[in-house]
């Protein structure tokens, strides 16, 4: 049978699929970052902490109120999004006129504070969260056992990513948004409430992080550091895709998930750095990112 470097096609196919699943998380998270950067020009370092908050809100809903996974999938992003709106109104809105760096520092500080608060109240070990009963078990695909829940993660992520891209690139609301970032003064002269648009956009980007957090809760350890571990990789994804490029963030997210999956087969020790190696190469050859527009 055909083998590549001693690895059977079954294994390879399995790893490709797993890579795609991880890519699903990268895609949702980097999409949120890209939306926020593209439309608000804020490098949202608090994204990982808000992803973590999404997972914790799901646990809190279940533990204290008995609200299960499915309602949490809607409620947790709404709660996290509302929290994001408060942050944007009270703090970030003061920084729009300043350099990007101030936004980055503010959100980095917020990330540390949010993580510290969760660590203080819930400890560092993490909390249990089960896969919903409708999605437990899995399918034997011949080349691998695919848990139903992972299949759901891929479907959910593709739907959310495509929906977001469609809304921003193809609808009237999206057109307002893009116009508002291009020339806020002109757009508000047409009677559109630009600050409200921006606030809602931040809330939406953050809600995406919360959504990814709920998706992750049943399969990753729910602990205060779960976002910090992931956010650096997600930033690399955004840089490779091109800062602010919505489609770039989505495609790069899935693509890098697959590259990482393949690295785990051929050279597992390198799987943690492969994304950063690619980032370095892309920055050298095409600094604006694979899908980014050249800076004007």
């Amino acid at each position: 049978m055909f083998e590549l470097l001693g690895i059977s096609p079954q294994v390879l196919l399995g790893q490709l699929l797993l890579g795609l699943i991880n890519g699903a998380f990268y895609a949702i998270l980097s999409l949120g970052l890209a939306v926020i950067f593209g439309l608000l020009n804020i490098i949202n370092f608090a994204h990982g902490a808000l992803y973590m908050a999404g997972a914790f809100v799901a646990w809190i809903l279940l533990h204290y109120l008995g609200i299960g996974y499915w309602p949490a999938l809607i409620l947790a992003p709404l709660i996290v999004g509302a929290f994001g709106i408060v942050l944007e109104r009270t703090m970030m809105s003061r920084l729009y006129k300043l350099d990007h760096l101030y936004g980055l520092l503010l959100t980095f500080g917020l990330a540390l504070i949010i993580q510290g608060l969760f660590r203080n109240y819930y400890g560092i070990s993490g909390l249990p969260y089960q896969i919903p009963s409708q999605l437990s078990g899995g399918q034997n695909l011949g080349f691998m056992f695919l848990p139903n829940y992972r299949a759901w993660v891929v479907v959910a992520s593709i739907v959310v990513c495509f929906g977001t891209w469609f809304m921003i690139e193809k609808t009237r609301l999206g057109a307002y948004l893009r116009a508002a970032t291009e020339n806020p003064a002109l757009v508000s002269a047409f009677g559109i409430n630009v600050p409200l648009l921006i606030t809602l956009t931040y809330g939406f980007g953050v809600a995406l992080a919360g959504f990814a957090g709920v998706l992750a809760a049943p399969i990753y350890s729910v602990n205060p550091n779960m976002g910090a571990d992931l956010i650096i990789v997600v930033f690399a994804v955004v840089v490779i895709g091109g800062m602010g490029s919505i489609l770039g963030a989505i495609i790069t997210g899935y693509m890098l998930g697959i590259v990482e999956g393949l690295t785990r087969v051929f050279y597992p020790e390198g799987s943690a750095v492969v994304i950063f190696v690619i980032m370095a190469i892309v920055l050298l050859i095409k600094p604006e990112g694979l899908f980014g527009k050249e800076a004007r």
Binding site: V11, G14, Q15, L18, G19, I21, N22, R119, G123, I124, S125, G126, L127, P128, Q130, I131, G137, G138, M144, F145, P147, Y149, R150, P218, I219, Y220, S221, N223, N225, M226, D229, L230, G261, R264, V265, P268, E269, G270, S271, A272, V273
Partner: protein
């Protein structure tokens, strides 16, 4: 008249002076992780345990004036070293307790030897503390990676898990844990069919688990710790690995980690510990007091701080002084201890505390009656069997 008065004053001064001399001042420093990944398994809980030891030892009645201070070493050897040095030089600390994270513990062990203090380590796992870097002022109380490997590795190999596949965290700790366990597996007639080095820390273990699944191994050995192990076990359950008959062996896992997973996901997992809160009436009674203060059940590390502090205070009482660290540790090696949590404990010439270790299996959700009702005890191993034999050059009783 004047003469009489001054005589009386002198006598008074003399008698109070004598009473003061009987009082022995002891200052204990609990140095551990209070904000990072080991904060739940050591942290403030270890300080609580040390306080409970002072209380139960009835130190005040025995003329010991014990003060406990604590600090966060943030799992960084440089920070830990600085605190230890300041404690010994400026604050007059007599003994340092707990110190999880092997790299910090090894650094503190050196400073302790230099300053003639005492290190009673409960939280760190490295066997080097009583081997390559043994010191006459070190006592390693609760566990080490070799004992965990022996407990879990031997028991699972003898129960039919002959073929092992390791998921190894790709740094010194993971490799040494794998090496220790592989040796035990092979000594017991098993074989290692494969291993994969997993970058540390890792979120997603599915690729590696799939490789382990394809290897046809009976047992997947998890040579990692904390959040990595939690992620690996959670995903092994998701991918149907445990349901299909392969067993997971967690080689460094604490009750707080099992609690984080829940019985549903962790059920059937085998692990070795020195202490579990629900072993007997003594451990239950003590753990209830601990729970009332700390709102969590104690880990073996925290219980070990209690047990080690009791033993240390007994040695100080016997010597009548807390000043000479080397003498206190030598005294501890002569004594035999018996406390409500660890039972009979002796300290070997190299500073290794010997006590029973226990193999546990995580209960199924049907068996478990509460969020902390997690283990069934499978078997126990004596200290002599569990820990590595003493290196002759580390036997400080012969030097």
């Amino acid at each position: 008249m004047m003469k009489k008065l001054s005589l009386a004053t002198a006598l008074c001064a003399l008698s109070t002076g004598a009473a003061f001399a009987q009082e022995i001042d002891v200052k204990l420093g609990v140095l551990n992780d209070r904000s990072g990944v080991y904060a739940d398994l050591s942290g403030e809980g270890s300080v609580v345990a040390a306080r409970m030891a002072v209380e139960d030892f009835k130190a005040a009645d025995k003329g010991l004036n014990v003060e406990i201070i604590s600090a966060d070493h943030q799992n960084k050897p440089d920070i830990g070293s600085n605190i230890a040095r300041q404690w010994y030089e400026v604050d007059g600390v007599n003994a340092i307790l707990d110190v999880p994270t092997s790299s910090v513990a090894l650094a503190v062990a050196d400073i302790t030897a230099e300053k003639n203090g005492v290190l009673i380590d409960s939280g760190a796992g490295s066997t080097q503390l009583t081997r390559e870097q043994c010191r006459p002022t070190t006592v390693h109380w609760t566990y080490d990676t070799a004992a965990l490997a022996t407990g879990t590795g031997a028991a699972m190999t003898n129960a039919g898990g002959k073929k092992w596949f390791f998921l190894t965290a790709d740094y010194a700790f993971g490799h040494s844990l794998e090496e220790n366990t592989a040796r035990v597996v092979e000594d017991n007639g098993g074989e290692v069919v494969g291993q994969v080095n997993v970058p540390f820390p890792a979120q997603d273990f599915s690729s590696f688990l799939l490789q382990a699944q394809g290897s046809g191994a009976d047992v997947i050995g998890l040579a990692n710790a904390g959040g990595d192990t939690v992620n690996a076990i959670k995903q092994a359950s998701e991918f149907g690995i445990t349901q299909a008959g392969q067993k997971l062996a967690a080689l460094l896992f604490f009750v707080t980690d099992v609690h984080a997973l829940g019985a549903q996901t962790a059920q059937g997992l085998s692990l070795t510990e020195a202490f579990y809160w629900d072993q007997n009436d003594n451990t239950r009674a003590w753990s209830k007091r601990f729970m009332d203060i700390q709102d969590a059940q104690p880990t073996m590390v925290q219980a070990g701080v209690y047990s080690g502090t009791m033993a240390y205070l007994a040695a100080v009482e016997a010597l009548g002084s807390a000043e000479d660290g080397k003498a206190i540790v030598a005294k501890m090696k002569e004594m035999e201890f018996n406390d409500p949590l660890f039972g009979k404990v002796t300290v070997r010439g190299d500073g290794r505390a010997l006590h029973d270790m226990y193999l546990f299996e995580v209960k199924s959700p049907d068996e478990s009656t509460g969020e902390w009702d997690l283990y069934n005890q499978i078997s126990s191993i004596t200290g002599e069997e569990a820990f590595l034999p003493m290196l002759p050059e580390c036997d400080f009783t012969k030097q």
